[in-house]
Symmetry: D2
Subunit: 415 residues, 4 copies
């Protein structure tokens, strides 16, 4: 087992750990630890909301979640000798929920997925599912099941939703400028177009006083992925993957968390993965000057591992970039096309007795593959969602006597 370089007591807030983590991107957040290139390390992580969601049958906590605390990240980890222009080589050796534990804290044998209310960030289908819902998932080895979504069982492609390096001051300023410019195009939108810096709830590791205030005023929110990596929510950052992160500041300053037991491509219900606290083991190395050498300047590059679950039977739904509610044609909009593919899948699953919310959570949490079909056949982009049929306890493929409708209850709702 590698050395634990960032430890978390899951019963406490990230704010109360011996070395606290952080919830903004800022180059001045003090490193929690410094390691040498070539090290194997373990990083322990809190679940992303810092423990606001409980293992119960009400979605009130999802409805009322305070996003100013999110995401609670572990780090920063400084790497000796890392300088701007280098590549951090990060091997994901292992990761998982809280080891050897069954308990009340998220990641101790269980996780959750939520549909966020439209007034609180929403999700990919928020116009269709504007309210808050929740499902609790129980872990059994590499599989999980949910009392709220009976009849499915997944082998999880476990992965971190969010890891990245610190931005340089210049890069941070650019982020803030371009995101504010976007917000300014429609400042009253619900949900907002982007999230500007926010001093409420800021946590900056061991920073306090003026430095913490500065981090709150300038620090980028952690929701989007950006040039430094960040909240990729790519399910294939799994065991055995190797990631090449660009370095923008001395030491690189690797931080992250937001561990997911399982997630479908797109993480469509926003809090769509099965969220958990836990640990992740890395090997960290350095390619000096690697950004220029390999032309990796804008985003991380990675090589997925070879231990993803292997499914071979799929049912695939297609969507195009037309808003079918009012027959409006959008131009080459892959986002809309993927939304339609997901809606088509949900309509199909309803025929088998799943509620819309259950189907939505299945797409968010199971190892679906979201694929770009055509993005050149003007005006319609085409995307598809590959649903593995082997996750269901009945044969859901078309054919035979038609769908077998069963009452499957419902996910947790708000009171």
């Amino acid at each position: 087992m590698p050395d634990v370089v960032f430890s978390v007591d899951q019963s406490k807030s990230m704010r109360d750990q011996s070395v606290p983590g952080h919830n903004r991107w800022h180059p001045d957040i003090p490193p929690a630890v410094t390691i040498k290139p070539g090290s194997d390390i373990r990083v322990e992580c809190k679940e992303w909301t810092d423990g606001q969601i409980g293992n119960n049958d009400s979605a009130n906590d999802v409805r009322d979640v305070d996003l100013s605390h999110a995401h609670m990240l572990s780090g920063p980890i400084a790497v000796e000798g890392a300088e701007p222009g280098d590549l951090l080589v990060v091997d994901i050796l292992d990761l998982g929920p809280v080891p050897q534990a069954q308990g009340p804290n998220c990641g101790e044998g269980w996780g959750y997925s939520g549909i966020f209310a439209k007034i609180n960030g929403g999700g990919f289908l928020t116009d269709y599912f504007p309210d808050a819902y929740k499902a609790i998932w129980d872990f059994r080895g590499q599989e999980c099941t949910s009392r709220h979504v009976p009849g499915v069982r997944y082998t999880g492609i476990t992965h971190p939703g969010l890891f990245g390096t610190a931005p340089s001051p210049d890069m941070l300023a650019r982020w803030n400028a371009r995101e504010q410019a976007l917000i300014d195009t429609d400042p009253d939108r619900v949900p907002p177009l982007a999230l500007p810096p926010l001093t409420d709830g800021v946590l900056g590791g061991t920073a306090d006083g003026d430095l913490l205030a500065k981090i709150g005023q300038e620090g980028a929110r952690t929701v989007p992925p950006r040039e430094n990596g960040g909240n990729h929510d790519i399910k294939n950052f799994t065991r055995g993957s190797r990631v090449f992160y660009p370095v923008y500041v001395n030491g690189g300053l690797l931080s992250g968390g937001d561990l997911h037991f399982s997630q479908g491509d797109g993480e469509i219900n926003f809090c769509g993965a099965i969220e958990m606290g836990g640990y992740i083991d890395f090997h960290v190395d350095l390619i000096k000057g690697g950004m220029e050498t390999y032309g990796i300047t804008t985003n991380p590059v990675f090589m997925p591992g070879r231990v993803e679950p292997r499914y071979s039977e799929w049912l695939t739904f297609i969507g195009i970039s037309v808003d079918h509610r009012d027959d409006t044609n959008h131009y080459m909009d892959a986002t809309l096309a993927y939304r339609n593919a997901c809606l088509n899948a949900i309509e199909y699953l309803k025929k088998w007795g799943y509620t819309g919310e259950q189907a939505y959570l299945i797409l968010g949490t199971s190892p679906i593959e979201g694929r770009i079909g055509g993005v050149v056949d003007l005006p319609n982009a085409c995307c598809s969602v590959f649903l593995p049929t082997e996750i269901f306890d009945v044969d859901i493929r078309p054919g035979g006597q038609g769908p077998q409708f069963q009452d499957r209850g419902q996910v947790a709702v708000t009171s």
Copy 2:
């Protein structure tokens, strides 16, 4: 071998076949043949431009292509007893280039891929590659190579780019209305936002006179995918797949073509697949009332086959929905995110000696996977492109001594 229900003499234009095909979607195009449910059939297909592109080393023919002729489709095939509301069950038994042939017509041992000029439709990266280019690919069993792109060899996921059923008159009217509305938002755009009906070059099977004129005036262009299927350009419609097509008119009227020897997700260079003439074998069956039974109302659903090539080693590039040229942030734009992922891959491949055009064509033609990463982490969508490293004759992964730059020539250019 199944009965040939639509035959093509590859040395002739689609217009001069014994039963001509068609190049518009219209419910009144006369069926070329009527088959019974449960039939196995063979459909022969022309390459999509009706033979405008030659096996040579100049891209002039790509530059000068007349798109009013495209796509040249085989069909329509009427299915006895099919009525609106049914599902056509279409098994793709087999498909391939022109059997047992080596010759001058596309599909006779060779195919091509092109980058279209911006003034002629463009492609996914047309702002970066505004001119016309071409590569010729030679087929050897299920693999292909190109004299214009040395150092790569693909096992093709061979598939039809375009199959679909005929729209009802109402559906056709809706298509024309919504696409015209889109065009009207920017009527002078180059390339255009959508393609309205066009009488020039129209072919309507055996229709002539007033009927042909009507088809020209009303018929939907074949470029986009729509509710009837159409130009999906989904590489996984391969051998062994089963597709469920909605039926909108009596007989269903299945038509298609645009066969591809190989293509990457997105078909990013528009004419990005390796295009070919050839044949496709179907088993066709019917689920009466299947659209309502299964909730399949808006788009086809399919089950991919299990004979896709198996790659296990990938290099994955990520993009986010920021235009990095001027640091403009777009909201949840998966199209832009995927474009950036592709551009990142191209920059990387340049380090190994591929020209930008060669790299662009590799992404268009090789079995890359285009994946939706996150589409909820506002404001940045995140997409990724998985490049199979085993298609290259050198190890292109980062590491070791750095990239080995080699001069690899260039694709075919215009004169």
Copy 3:
């Protein structure tokens, strides 16, 4: 399409082709053609018994088959410059049944598999199935079905059962000596321990007179695999594979045939694959002195292709090296262990209504994987057979209400 260097008219015996093939291994069989290294070639092949088996519902032809004619091989193909000690590099570009054909000759849209009678060679389970049986299989693209074995459908891993290079005179003499020594240990055994040279039925390409007599007297029978390759019956010699054959005589003299549409590991019913006539396309190249360079001296080496069908759900049966009929323990006998694994699978399938013969033919023809478990845990070797559950039209896994017994008829029997 590559040049046809060995052509077969499927309506005629191999003896009556313009250039006949051969059915013995001998260095003096005259080359049918000479090719240059680097060539792409097509070789057409007869089904292995030279057309003795018909598309009908009687197994009499299997019972009465004359094995002195088998295997009917295409070739020899001489490669310019090949000398003893070289490696022939043979890429399998493509292969399949008779192209574009539906007819009475095996490979024209259909193939067969047979259980051979114990008195005529038998098979792996001949003590349990001593009589002759047959099933006819219909090809539909890469899938096949049988009227004699309802309820299964396979995606075939199509491959040649038999290809190899010519032995040197010395090697041939050694083969004959060691096989005769084996026969001499039990000369009256039924089936025999090995097959010595046989002048009856010999075919030696264009050889006649004294040379043909010599080939008959000395030529090795084609049944076993040997140092030169030969009758491997390894299902993974499929499209995209690259095989390295040792060269023992000048020119190498590559010959083969015995094409299989599908086969399980072990080809357990002897004529267990789905046999067919057809074609195979090769690229042939040479590594001078490659045997010493790579230490490949005793058997070919190969790299399987990446277009094998992809199954992910299996039911696995285990066997150990005990003869359970009389509780006799054999020492580390993997053959017996695999036989027991197969018998266990057959007992299981009987519970679903398959006859023993149907189950036997399923194991012989479907893409089962036969795996070595432990071969060190004295005294019991352990082997297992992986049966892909997705080939069945019902869910055959244990669980639920127990097996659903259905009457599924029977394979073709003798009169």
Copy 4:
């Protein structure tokens, strides 16, 4: 995390645990625990030799190992309501080395593989490698490397080598009779043909006195797999697998251990897997009367999981049932054919600088696939070994400039 129903302190012998395990198969060994059907449980396991092998650079401990102590099994676990004729349904939820540990006991971050001396049991190639050797392997997540075998890295298919149910008294008597009959055919053989009951070193759980003496006199040794399961050494009993064990005594009495971090098909060097202590999590259920219902009477049946590592590039070596040392032909001997395939692979790897012992250990420990080729082509069985080329840090495929010989040191040897 499931309840621990059998706990192990890795620093102590299995004999000194709070509830000791056992090292013989006997129906009278007292259950260590009784569980209800439907339970999730954790079983902790010692490494199979009870800690005789150390993390050092000498193979003396392998040479001197006392096999009377092996295998040290955890259990028996009685299942309420299980009766002869039932099937135990055992889901492997998870397994691994000692959690969260790095230390001197095997499984605490490391494991070993050994070549046993011919005078001490030997291995599959003991005639070729008669002496004792050892390699130590370090675990990093799901991958492992060895200082004794540089240049390879595996993603382990982690699995238990040995689990099974207790034999009935009758079955035990039959085992002893048939194995003694085998021994009697060559009682002085080295290594012996089988291992009879042995009172030395016997451990029978909590049994002592007369009962322990009886267990020693009658108890079957744990080396071979038998009808109850036992030492299968099948690498695919991995996470997510479901095993159906026959029940022969009341309670079923499930026992096992011999955990392997990684192993190739055949476990060819006997102690060929990477051995470790650790834990395994099961879900246990019952199918009443399942043996008759499903025809599962002789051996367990299982369904492998879908989280095995995914390799797609292989180099495959073939062997036939001829002893090439003296050109002796054996009849349909798959064991010999597989031995030759392994020897061919070793000769090949030597060209790249691996010693024979290193190559032997690579085949024993890496996820090679051992396949039955043909077992009907008399007289020569044909087996093949699929070696995943992606485990090597250089490209080991034939081609290019020929093999790149490097000095790679040697495994641990005896003094």
